[in-house]
């Protein structure tokens, strides 16, 4: 280490104290405390939706915290925009690359911080600096190549160089390995180690525990928007220990295992397959399976690959998987939002060709993974939100009219039965807290006697009280004979509620597990593909 880095090392590179950020209705971050020492790789781990991204946006000046202070190199700072963060040497490498494909590497790196010679772009000067930076940090790139010709790993290096070019001493990497293959991950880690050796500080956000253990010097765990632990690497003995911290051990243990599963199949999916590059109908007369094999033989990427399962009345089937392995596509195929190959059956009916509306009318309920995107009209009243998805059914419908008074009455029923805290049914949905919005959605989707319910992350971003209530509602509905497809990133939720768990990995169901004898850690092994799938049940 040079004398220079030693001098700055007196203070931690970044200190966050008591950071709290509220969005209308949700607390995204609550009393976050993190101290990042200079010249280290500090990992921040947490489940999806735990509040990592919000925290990073705050640290990078994209959002202002409601409470709390940020200190960089011992000095109090307050960011209004990302430029303020860049000013004090904080740079961010986004998960989704922000590069202009049709420009060269050099142009991309200098974009927005162009060195000028009079009025012209000082290409020679820029190239010299980029080459110097690349050489000193071991980031090999050809500055004159077009970005569109680069692979993912190279693009990421360009992003890192771009940040370094702006003089960053503290790098935030948001899920940098999500898009990389294992060899590229190893290369990235080599680069990060070199950056560290140069005295730079790296904040590494991830939910992949083995990688975190590989690279990090210190680890902070975030759960439900707050920091639950901060440990040096040496104190972490296993991924399991981290996993427990991440999902939390105070969560309810698996409940009464009294099975309510019947032998009547309520919902069945066969050979469900979806291409990545757009749906094309299979030729007439070709069975789906043959067609899928042909697709596979052609090397087509499949978002859903021959997914088959059935759910009985009174059964909850949990789908475990790292986000982006086909869960959203599975839901969209079942709801009829995106076309797919294969058959979907609800009770006796083959609903594969039905519209979304008809599927809903015949008894499919849907608690969406992102309630603000798919579940609510935020700027409409609660009773109008009650009508949403039920606009063709009683009590919302009356001929061509919307039955306002009946809708309001029924909304009042949901408010009462599901304990939605609201001044009235005329209140706009956005005025409610996340938990209350979610309870309204659960109440709505349980209305009209559904036969089958898709519950995607039903308790994401809601407080503990609402979580317990929603779980109770799901259990009660299951006892009453509802078939539920539960998709969740919360492994305790999955294990605690499900009668059967299937693991989805790269669009395939790779393992069927019995929740009564599975640990989060082993489940994690299946989810990341570390344990090859075996049928256990």
């Amino acid at each position: 280490m040079s004398a220079d880095t030693l001098a700055t090392a007196k203070f931690p590179a970044v200190e966050l104290e008591g950071i709290t950020k509220r969005f209308p209705g949700v607390v995204a971050n609550h009393d976050i405390r993190i101290t990042v020492q200079a010249g280290t790789v500090h990992a921040i781990v947490g489940e999806n939706g735990a509040g990592k991204s919000t925290l990073m946006k705050i640290l990078y000046g994209m959002q202002k915290p409601d409470e709390g202070s940020i200190r960089v190199d011992g000095k109090d700072v307050s960011f209004r925009t990302p430029s303020d963060a860049i000013e004090v040497g904080i740079g961010m490498v986004h998960q989704h690359f922000m590069l202009a494909d049709n420009l060269t590497v050099l142009e991309n790196i200098v974009l927005g911080a162009e060195p000028k010679k009079d009025v012209r772009l000082d290409t020679a000067g820029a190239r010299k600096r980029i080459n110097a930076l690349a050489a000193s940090h071991g980031l090999r790139v050809d500055p004159d190549k077009l970005v569109e010709d680069l692979g993912v790993g190279d693009r990421q290096r360009v992003e890192i160089l771009k940040v370094l070019y702006r003089g960053a001493r503290i790098l935030i990497l948001d899920e940098p390995t999500a898009v990389l293959v294992p060899q590229e991950v190893e290369e990235l880690f080599q680069n990060l180690r070199e950056l560290k050796a140069e005295g730079l500080t790296v904040i590494f956000i991830s939910h992949k525990l083995d990688e975190v253990l590989d690279i990090a010097d210190a680890i902070t765990v975030i759960r439900r928007g707050t920091t639950v632990a901060s440990l040096p690497r040496s104190e972490v003995t296993s991924a399991r220990q981290l996993a427990e911290l991440m999902v939390g051990s105070e969560l309810p243990t698996p409940e009464t295992r009294e099975s309510t599963v019947t032998d009547r199949v309520a919902f069945k999916v066969e050979d469900l397959t979806m291409e990545a590059d757009g749906y094309r109908p299979a030729p007439k007369g070709t069975p789906v399976r043959t067609y899928v094999e042909k697709l596979r033989a052609e090397g087509k990427r499949l978002l859903l690959d021959d997914v088959s399962f059935e759910i009985h009345e009174g059964e909850i089937l949990g789908i475990a998987g790292v986000e982006g392995n086909g869960q959203s596509e599975l839901i969209e195929a079942i709801m009829g939002i995106r076309p797919a190959h294969g058959t979907i059956r609800l009770g006796e009916h083959d609903i594969s060709a039905w519209s979304t509306l008809k599927r809903r009318e015949s008894g499919i309920g849907y608690i969406p993974e992102d309630r603000h995107r798919q579940g609510l009209l935020l700027e409409a009243s609660l009773w109008e939100n009650r009508v949403l998805g039920h606009q063709t059914r009683k009590p919302a419908r009356s001929g061509i009219w919307v039955d306002r008074s009946a809708s309001k009455r029924d909304t009042a029923r949901i408010v009462k039965d599901y304990d939605v805290r609201t001044p009235s049914v005329d209140t706009l949905a956005l005025a409610l807290s996340g938990g209350n919005q979610q309870k309204l959605i659960v109440g709505r989707e349980m209305s009209g006697a559904p036969k089958f319910l898709i519950a995607a992350h039903p308790t994401r971003g809601v407080d503990v009280g609402a979580q317990a209530a929603i779980w109770d509602h799901l259990r009660n509905a299951r006892a009453a004979g509802l078939a539920v497809l539960l998709i969740s990133a919360d492994l305790d939720e999955l294990i605690g509620l499900s009668d059967t768990i299937q693991v989805i990995y790269r669009g395939r169901l790779v393992a069927a597990l019995d929740p009564s004898d599975i640990t989060p850690e082993r489940l994690g092994g299946y989810m990341t593909g570390a344990i090859a799938g075996t049928e256990e049940t």
């Binding site: 809903r360 798919q374 063709t392 009219w401």
Partner: protein, 380 residues
């Protein structure tokens, strides 16, 4: 419902502030143009010296407001669903000439004659709007670009039609080309008797107060009912507020795009009728243009709600009427355009501000009533 009242009051306050600011800014422009703002604003309220002139002024004001109101409604139906039907201009012109021509080819009792003309106008407007809708749902063509391009086609097509296939006899010495004269039974009775009820002289110019005003009022009410009370209106609202949520709720976005576009086009088709059926009795090359574009401003100003659009149409018509009076007062009449532009800009800003304010208030109110802390509090 106090929350709704709150929001309405805020909106009105925002609009009033915007108009006062617009007057201030326009005064600067008028002064810069070398005229006196006081004279100019006096001219807006100067409806003429004689009683007859005043009646005519009032009639011109109302007659101008009617097509603007219909145009605003047409645009608003699209806006409600985040569909930008910029093609109202082309739709109404094409509809107007087709309706005028079809109406001139036969003679029937007045109610039938007028009904046929209205139906033809709505059908032509709706069909012409169907083109961009189909392009959008099948090929993803942006409706803004498609409708702008279709405007050019429609405008030139009408110029061709009025000179060629649909041209009627040109009277000696007349400079404009026109479609054949409509029969007497096609002319909508005027509402001049209202003036007499109030003891005023009936207006004489421009066919008096056009009876189509009544149709416009009925149309406004029908549209309000459709948008606010029916399932179709709910689907439009849901699609506009949150497309993905509407889709997940089983609202077929393609059908909705087509339905909303065609509805918007059909309403647009009626824009030209007040003038044809109330005064001109034909479509000629002097036919009032630009109403479709003004309709966009009127819809924005009226926040896509029929009542708001009515107020906005009256405001625009009030300003437009002063053309002559301003010239007499030695003020360039183009200040009207400046005032209209400034008002639209400011009202759009004011709408945004009051909207956010209203939403914030609603959140706080909900929070307070529940005895929670306010959703966002700033730490010391």
């Amino acid at each position: 419902m106090p929350a709704g009242l709150n929001r309405a009051l805020l909106t009105v306050a925002g609009a009033v502030i915007a108009i006062i600011l617009a007057i201030a800014i326009s005064s600067v422009a008028i002064t810069a143009a070398g005229a006196s703002p006081i004279d100019a604003f006096a001219a807006f309220f100067d409806f003429g010296a004689s009683e007859r002139a005043q009646s005519n002024g009032i009639a011109a004001f109302i007659n101008r407001a009617v097509p603007l109101f219909i145009a605003g409604l047409a645009v608003a139906v699209g806006f409600r669903m985040n569909l930008f039907n910029i093609g109202v201009e082309g739709q109404y012109r094409l509809a107007a000439i087709c309706a005028a021509y079809v109406g001139s080819t036969f003679t029937a009792p007045a109610p039938i004659q007028i009904a046929v003309i209205i139906v033809v106008a709505a059908a032509v407007g709706g069909l012409y709007a169907l083109i961009p809708a189909v392009m959008k749902v099948t090929r993803g063509v942006n409706e803004v670009i498609a409708t702008i391009m279709l405007n050019y086609i429609a405008i030139n097509l009408t110029s061709y039609l009025v000179r060629g296939p649909f041209a009627g006899e040109r009277a000696a010495g007349q400079l404009t080309t026109t479609t054949p004269e409509l029969p007497e039974s096609a002319m909508f009775p005027n509402l001049n008797f209202v003036f007499e009820l109030f003891g005023l002289l009936p207006p004489t110019r421009g066919g008096g107060v056009w009876g189509f005003l009544l149709v416009a009022i009925v149309l406004g009410i029908v549209i309000w009912v459709v948008l606010e009370r029916t399932r179709f209106g709910f689907n439009v609202k849901a699609s506009g507020l949150n497309g993905p949520a509407a889709l997940a709720s089983g609202i077929d976005s393609k059908k909705m795009i087509i339905a909303a576009m065609v509805m918007s086009g059909s309403i647009a088709g009626l824009i030209g009728l007040p003038e044809i059926l109330g005064d001109k009795g034909a479509f000629n090359s002097n036919f009032t243009a630009g109403l479709g574009f003004l309709g966009i401003a009127v819809a924005l100003l009226g926040r896509n709600k029929p009542v708001g659009i009515a107020v906005a149409a009256l405001l625009f018509a009030f300003l437009d009427r002063a053309q002559g009076a301003l010239q007499i007062a030695n003020v360039p009449p183009s200040v009207i355009t400046i005032i209209q532009g400034v008002i639209v800009l400011l009202v759009v800003v004011a709408n945004e501000v009051t909207n956010r304010l209203a939403l914030r208030l609603e959140e706080q109110r909900a929070a307070q009533e529940l005895g929670r802390k306010q959703p966002v509090e700033v730490a010391a």
